[in-house]
Symmetry: C2
Subunit: 498 residues, 2 copies
């Protein structure tokens, strides 16, 4: 039988299908490492994940991939295929900037450092994790330099570009300077404003199984399909797994139900993005989520914009009271809203309110830039962290556990990730304002526990577009504007001083 | 810096290290599929596992692997390295017999058929699984023919050789004929003998959490280390994971604690074999377990030889009574021993006693030979199964759920596996008799709940030897004899007519 050789573009699609399928396998292994794996499995798991990285790196960097990318340049492609090809080229450029030995070394060093960090954090022992973090940072610096040369970006931007394709620190600097200008004064006003309001926290303990069942109920309300996903426990909550098997995690505290619940709703926002990605482009780069800022916007839109709002609490407060067999004024929507929007400068980023959160991020953004440039080293980190907290938030950590050891990032090899949290918060505000303007029924449905109008709008304007547009162009299409601080500041003023 | 090219053998070790590391990753994905994965993840998971099979198949079949195997032939190797090279050659021969397309098709068809089987079995609907099983059997027949040509074995032996390296149906036929001769008459005698004994079964319900905790306690007694393993739930119990992260599963029934408990102890025997394999040869074929018969011997030695014996129950009976807050004569060791050694012909292999179990296996062995040769097809299977049950065990299934749909094997693509269960039972009897002869303290320690002398002997004579000897040679070294039916029959006579 004669056969016609597929076009270079078609061959690239087949190659990336293999790559992304292996990536899904690795994603399940990562989830397992954080949720199921006994401690004695860590060394072997690091080897497995490193080997899978080596395989995908090898496939991506094979000379044929480069040849096919060149050969596909003049192909007659539609917009999605063109966007797909651009994303393939970007991934190839990132991958070929590093040798396989570098990739394997980074994978091993990340796994090793993260494992040590878990124990060191628990024991508040920064010295224990210093050496593996130094090893890891040296490798990340090398990697940043290599990518800088290959991509024509600064070393920091070359790392940022992995998490936020097209993201540049020059743009972030402008947005963050504006927030740094606005937030401290605003924070003072909010604290003053809130000092007159009182709220009574519901009393625990809140049994973990009841917390879990409440989380599941609200996840289902938001549209999470348990035939295509799970809810489990991990030290650092995340959304992982694959598009048709989304795995979110949380951690429970018997004395505080709200922390796990809001975390679950946050991860559900991530999960709904994954589940809404375009089926037709599964296993292709263009079918995947945009950068981490857009991903975070989906979780923050659900958690911060929707679930901490009074209209949502009109629906959820009775369910919360029922879950914990509570009654009385402390379970009233207004009281819960006051509690869930309380602003207090604190040490821990993941527990921070949305007013102080950007200041946590700005601290980390500046520190990670300085670590990559070499302006500060691992040994300088604890003091630099504590000084930064004092300058930005007016409080000083008592120890490294509530200081520079609190986050998994860096210890897992991720430098250049932190700014996406606050870019996501700004994106969320901008999207949610536009959504409610475009479709008033979105806001009307929420107190009834009906999230379909919202999810439909997000599906049409964000999820189903995959990566067919750049993040700025998608945001412009959805909201009429590029990313700016106005809607975020308007949201904060309305919620906290309104 | 000058570098000397590593020897062909050393290069092969590096290549197999990669292969076995990827195999470990696939093993965790298999475990996840059976324990954690939501149903909607099945299609994607099948793609992931098929892609990993393609990658490892590609590595194993690459022309360089063949070249290195040739080049290493005259190398100066020690015994372990020589055995390792032989095992590499065997795996290469198996793998190169199939095209990558065949491997991927088999992986997909197995995943698809297994998924349909889970539902079809629950619904007692053989017709629902007929088409996927036919597709799968066609692929397995093609694969058997291809391997037959490549390995110079009969098609059935070529499949058997994957699970039991060096195993040949001509040898099995002799052993099984002997058992088929012995067992029916023996079974009649046992039923007659047991008709005079009475035993009172402890009354349930047996709460699942109590069953789980009791299982964990006894696993720990046997030496299972939960820093290197887990116990979970799956439809078909198994031992999976990796050497340093062994994952065993069971299924619980509130009305019958013994079934899950004996299952847990059985899988613990498998797990201890994995954990005892030689560290120095991790990631090399010679460092892995011998075939499935030796693996099954380790689980049956623990479950059947040890844990259903009176001396073990002297230790375990009080723990069982305590777990379920029971007391009285039904929790006495003698009573439990009578219950745990009760012989009754039944429909379900995994629930069968050790007297009737080989007859279940002989039925499947004959049927799978006939399916591979083409003497029977999928459409003929239900009737052939039911007729065989009637002939061998004197009972006829009422439906396919308790007939030809009961086992996962075949539906997951495994033809040639079944005989290893009974080879394992015979091996277990032979090893345990020799162990107690060699070290009398083994038997003395068991009523005290001390399994160290036994595990030490198994470690020295089985586990730590990995695959450095063939199964027959290892058995000869440990027991002075090749595999035969004498010790198994002696064990049965002692336990059931003694």
């Amino acid at each position: 039988m004669d056969s016609v050789e597929p076009s270079p573009y078609t061959q690239l699609e087949a190659r990336f299908q293999r790559l992304l399928t292996l990536g899904e396998a690795a994603s399940i292994l990562h989830w397992d490492s954080s949720t199921m794996m006994p401690p004695g499995g860590a060394t072997g798991r690091a080897a497995q994940i490193a080997e899978m990285s080596a395989v995908t790196h090898g496939l991506l960097c094979a000379p044929e991939t480069g040849d096919l990318l060149k050969a596909a340049e003049d192909a007659n492609l539609d917009d999605w295929q063109r966007a797909n090809l651009d994303l393939m080229r970007r991934r190839h450029a990132h991958a070929t900037a590093l040798t396989e030995a570098q990739v394997v070394a980074l994978s091993h060093a990340s796994s090793a450092c993260e494992t040590v960090w878990r124990k060191a954090r628990a024991e508040n022992d920064f010295d224990a994790v210093r050496a593996p973090l130094e090893t890891l940072l040296d490798l990340v610096r090398d990697s940043a330099r290599a990518k800088s040369d290959a991509l024509g970006l600064s070393p920091y931007d070359a790392l940022l570009d992995e998490y936020e394709p097209g993201g540049r620190s020059a743009d972030i600097d402008v947005l963050f300077a504006d927030l740094e200008d606005f937030l401290p004064g605003f924070l003072t006003d909010v604290i003053e404003h809130q000092s007159t309001s009182t709220a009574n926290a519901p009393k625990g303990p809140f049994p973990i199984e009841a917390q879990r069942q409440l989380g599941i109920k609200l996840m289902k309300s938001l549209g999470f399909d348990f035939d295509h996903g799970r809810l489990d426990i991990s030290l650092h909550p995340f959304c992982g797994g694959t598009v048709d098997d989304v795995r979110i995690t949380t951690r429970y505290d018997k004395s505080d139900y709200a922390s796990a619940l809001m975390g679950v709703l946050h991860e559900t926002g991530h999960a709904m993005y994954e589940r809404g990605l375009p089926d037709d482009w599964r296993y292709q780069p263009v079918g995947g989520a945009l950068g981490m800022a857009m991903h975070e916007s989906q979780s923050l839109l659900i958690e911060m914009q929707v679930c901490r709002s009074l209209p949502f609490l009109e629906y959820a407060a009775p369910l919360m009271a029922e879950a914990f067999q509570g009654s009385g004024p402390q379970w009233q929507p207004g009281n819960l809203h006051t509690l869930l929007t309380k602003v207090t400068p604190g040490m821990i980023r993941v527990d921070a309110d949305e007013v102080t959160y950007p200041l946590h991020v700005i601290l980390r953004y500046r520190l990670e830039q300085a670590m990559i440039s070499g302006d500060i080293n691992v040994v300088d980190l604890p003091a630099a962290w504590d000084d930064g907290m004092e300058r930005l938030l007016g409080i000083r950590p008592a120890n490294d556990r509530e200081g520079c050891m609190q986050d998994i990032h860096w210890y897992d090899g991720a430098w250049g990730y932190f700014p996406t949290y606050t870019l996501g918060a700004m994106t969320a505000a901008q999207l949610y304002i536009s959504a409610r303007q475009a479709r008033p029924e979105i806001a009307e449905a929420i107190p009834k526990g009906d999230f379909k109008p919202l999810m439909d709008w997000l599906g049409a304007n964000v999820h189903s577009l995959g990566s067919s547009l750049t993040a700025p162009d998608l945001l412009k299409r959805a909201t009429g504007k590029y990313l700016n601080t106005d809607d975020f500041k308007a949201h904060l003023r309305y919620r906290y001083l309104g």
